[in-house]
């Protein structure tokens, strides 16, 4: 045993390893990615771990392990649960033998996500229990409890951390080496493991009855707590509880109810906690889940308690809570004076907007620019996708017209093509996204005779989430060298008419490849292949020659590289950022930008 200073995601990994987890699978996605990475960082005899190709695959791999009586964990971000919802909804009916924990990380804000969806609602929708940790320490314990409850009730359970729990660091006392549990193996029983309408009908009734029992069980669970005894109470979940608790340190009499297991609702616990309460403020993020649950509860029991929160406008409907909103909102509810004691910042110079941008030297910038050049003067739709390259939307590139969800770029380009034959339909898809959910879109395009150009931005990694390997990289999570899955061969096998692989840093060749594809009917592909600048060491940096630079600003206006800025009317390059990709030098009409060897 030793104390380890780890991220909340690390705490979840350590908790699962402590519970003797046999199999862990998942797909990267902020804020969940570090869970699986931590699992493989510690000695873990007998634990199998993988980055699956997407969340649905991960859920199904894990389900089979749980059917074998093994303990399985599957990790993803909240929108990943949408992808995995097909197996999860059915699995909820079938049930499990070994403990199965689904970690779905929510992202209030949202900080790095498409939606502010609430996994607690998904748990209720799927009729399976959900644990809601308020800190890394609690997440470490809850994931172990979650395995126990999963086995006790033979159901998958969800652990739902949020970004601030996933990415907060704390010290966790945990073993240094881990051993996976023994498990019995799969026992064939088609009446149990094969989902059929009759089985679903019977299990549905069983699940509803069982969930009432779980709610009772949760009523004595140690992370459902109440402190203080005032008639005005605060009910909080997740990290919002931590903010509320910190503010209420100065007011120990105020009743603070923490709900660690939002579904099935711990009714007896809440009825006790609400004894003598006249008004409750629900302080939570994402949806008004606890608020609506309490409204149902007081209706069911005819209690005269007023419930406040998001539905009454006391708590904002969207965005994340923090220590300050906790202070402000709870003070207003309690009728306390809330004076912010901070420096008066009126009259401060306005800090500049800093939208996230593609890194200096990012090959995606060059790919986008080549397509932009090739399509100059033509009508074209640019369908983007999920990954670093969503940032191609920023000015001055402005090359992402749509972005919906993983893999949608390829299929949406087809829809645009069917609706507008005069335009060129182009999709941009990263390598990891292509493997996750792009392939079926390509087959759809070929099958339905779409006319489009697939641009595969292949930087040989899953960059946005922290450089995880994928099927095209030749390595997997267990670090074994594996056969690379070739994007080019897949495209050819699917019947793509023309496949050209280019180095995006060669601007003329890249532009020519796109132009060539635009002149051919059918489904064509350009694979822009160049590694992410964060995984290769740059071998040179570019410099501007102030004697030759005429200050036309073409380099800055055209590509928006963060290493380029203006000083004294001329372009300058920040040597700390430049990776020597050379895109700017290919643009300069005055030969003012050249490479200097490192």
């Amino acid at each position: 045993m030793s104390k380890k200073y780890v991220m909340g995601n690390g705490a979840i990994a350590l908790g699962a390893l402590s519970a003797g987890v046999n199999l862990v699978a998942g797909y990267p996605g902020t804020p969940s990615s570090e869970i699986i990475e931590t699992v493989v960082r510690y000695p873990h005899e007998g634990t199998y771990a993988e980055w699956s190709v997407n969340e649905k695959a991960a859920m199904e791999v894990a389900a089979a392990a749980a059917y074998c009586g093994a303990r399985a964990m599957v990790t993803m971000k909240q929108v990943g649960l949408n992808v995995a919802s097909d197996p999860l909804m059915s699995l909820a009916y079938v049930g499990v033998k070994g403990g199965m924990v689904v970690v779905s990380a929510d992202d209030p804000g949202p900080i790095s996500s498409q939606t502010e969806q609430d996994t607690r609602r998904f748990a209720e929708f799927a009729r399976i229990p959900v644990f809601d940790p308020s800190s890394p320490e609690e997440a470490f314990e809850m994931v172990q409890d979650a395995f126990e409850y999963s086995e006790k009730y033979r159901t998958p359970v969800i652990l739902r951390p949020t970004t601030r729990v996933d990415h907060a660091y704390a010290s966790i006392e945990a073993p240094d080496t881990f051993h996976a549990r023994e498990y019995g193996g799969f026992v064939k029983d088609s009446k149990k493991w094969v989902i059929f309408p009759r089985l679903s009908y019977m299990n549905h009734a069983m699940i509803e009855k069982r969930n009432t029992e779980i709610g009772e069980d949760f009523s004595s669970y140690r992370f459902n707590t109440v402190s203080g005894s005032s008639a005005k109470a605060i009910a909080a979940t997740g990290v919002s509880y931590a903010y509320a608790a910190e503010f209420l340190k100065a007011y120990p009499d105020i009743r603070l109810i923490k709900v660690g297991t939002p579904y099935p609702l711990p009714e007896s616990f809440l009825l006790n906690a609400l004894e003598g309460v006249s008004e409750v403020l629900c302080f939570e993020e994402l949806s008004p889940y606890i608020e609506e649950s309490l409204l149902k509860l007081i209706g069911k029991h005819h209690l005269n308690i007023s419930i406040r929160g998001k539905l009454t406008g006391d708590v904002p409907p969207s965005g994340e809570n923090d220590a300050d909103s906790a202070g402000r909102i709870i003070s207003r509810f309690l009728g306390l004076e809330y004076a912010e004691s901070s420096i008066d910042c009126s009259g401060a110079p306005q800090p500049p907007a800093r939208p996230p941008v593609l890194c200096a030297g990012c090959p995606h910038r060059a790919s986008f620019y080549a397509v932009k050049r090739a399509m100059k003067g033509k009508k074209a739709y640019f369908c983007g996708d999920i990954g670093c390259y969503t940032l191609g939307n920023a000015m001055p590139l402005d090359m992402v017209d749509t972005c919906l969800c993983m893999g949608a770029g390829i299929t949406m380009a087809q829809g645009f093509n069917h609706m507008d034959k005069d335009a060129v339909a182009i999709s941009f898809t990263g390598d990891s996204t292509f493997f996750a959910s792009g392939i079926s879109g390509v087959v759809n395009a070929v099958y339905n005779a779409a006319d489009m150009i697939l641009c595969i931005l292949d930087n040989s990694t899953t960059a946005m989430t922290g450089h995880q390997p994928h099927p095209g990289t030749g390595r997997n999570l267990m670090a074994a060298p594996v056969e690379k899955v070739s994007i080019e061969k897949l495209l050819i096998a699917a019947g793509v008419t023309k496949v050209i692989t280019v180095d995006p840093l060669d601007l003329d060749a890249s532009t020519a490849a796109v132009k060539e594809c635009a002149g051919i009917k059918g489904v064509k592909a350009v694979i822009f292949k160049s590694p992410c600048v964060a995984i290769v060491k740059p071998d040179k940096k570019m410099r501007t020659d102030s004697g030759k630079c005429v200050g036309c600003m073409r380099c800055i206006r055209e590509i928006g590289c963060p290493a380029l800025s203006v000083s004294g009317g001329k372009a300058v390059i920040d040597g700390n950022l430049c990776t020597g990709c050379g895109l700017c030098s290919q643009l300069c009409k005055f030969g003012a930008i050249g490479g200097a060897e490192e």
């Binding site: 900080i111 790095s112 931590a242 600003m553």
Partner: protein
């Protein structure tokens, strides 16, 4: 000890390593530590903050407005953006070298002077020029470790030089160790001079 330390800057400047070293050092010194980082899309050139909370009564990972004892700003305008988190009697260490966002296009943007003057007018403050401080090491990438030295030398960090150096050895890859130790020493000297002047 109870101390809330905020580190702010622009994605890519190395604020995460700085906060990791502070947190690990405080833990080694026997304190309870919590911290939080900006991770994900916002890291790509966006404003980033790290919150390091030392002491037993921090429930949540984020420092409240007006709660930070020390603000280490890697960039002048980011110091201004996050100044509200500083306690009224808190201390700021701020880099005078601006990072210009690409959103500026072909306009020159601020040279950072107005921001530095504003910060100076509002609180106790020590300014550091990352280009000058890191010139001997060939890259401003060493600023994160150098400014930790400044914070330690100024006496505002509340952690000893030895403990922090131990953590740098543990956390920084061996091939960068020597330069990082030298950067820390250079930063420390600067902080110490300021400490002596007070």
């Amino acid at each position: 000890m109870k101390k809330d330390i905020m580190i702010c800057g622009v994605g890519g400047q190395g604020t995460v390593l700085a906060s990791k070293i502070i947190a690990a050092s405080a833990m080694d010194a026997g304190f309870t530590v919590h911290s939080a980082e900006t991770i994900g899309m916002a890291q790509r050139g966006g404003p980033v903050t790290s919150h390091v909370r030392i002491g037993d009564d921090a429930f949540s990972p984020l420092i409240p407005v007006g709660g930070a004892d020390l603000l280490i700003a890697f960039e002048p305008s980011e110091a201004v953006r996050n100044l509200k988190y500083l306690k009224k009697d808190g201390f700021v260490i701020v880099n005078t070298v601006p990072v210009k966002p690409t959103s500026l296009g072909s306009s020159e943007g601020s040279n950072g002077k107005a921001e530095i003057e504003f910060v100076k007018s509002k609180c106790r403050c020590l300014t550091v020029n990352s280009d000058e401080l890191c010139a001997p090491f060939g890259s401003s990438k060493f600023f994160n470790v150098a400014v930790l030295g400044t914070a330690a030398g100024s006496g505002e960090l509340g952690l000893s030089k030895e403990i922090i150096c131990d953590e740098i050895v543990k956390i920084v890859p061996e091939r960068f160790r020597e330069k990082n130790m030298a950067a820390f020493a250079a930063g420390y000297k600067l902080g110490e001079e300021n400490n002596a002047n007070q």
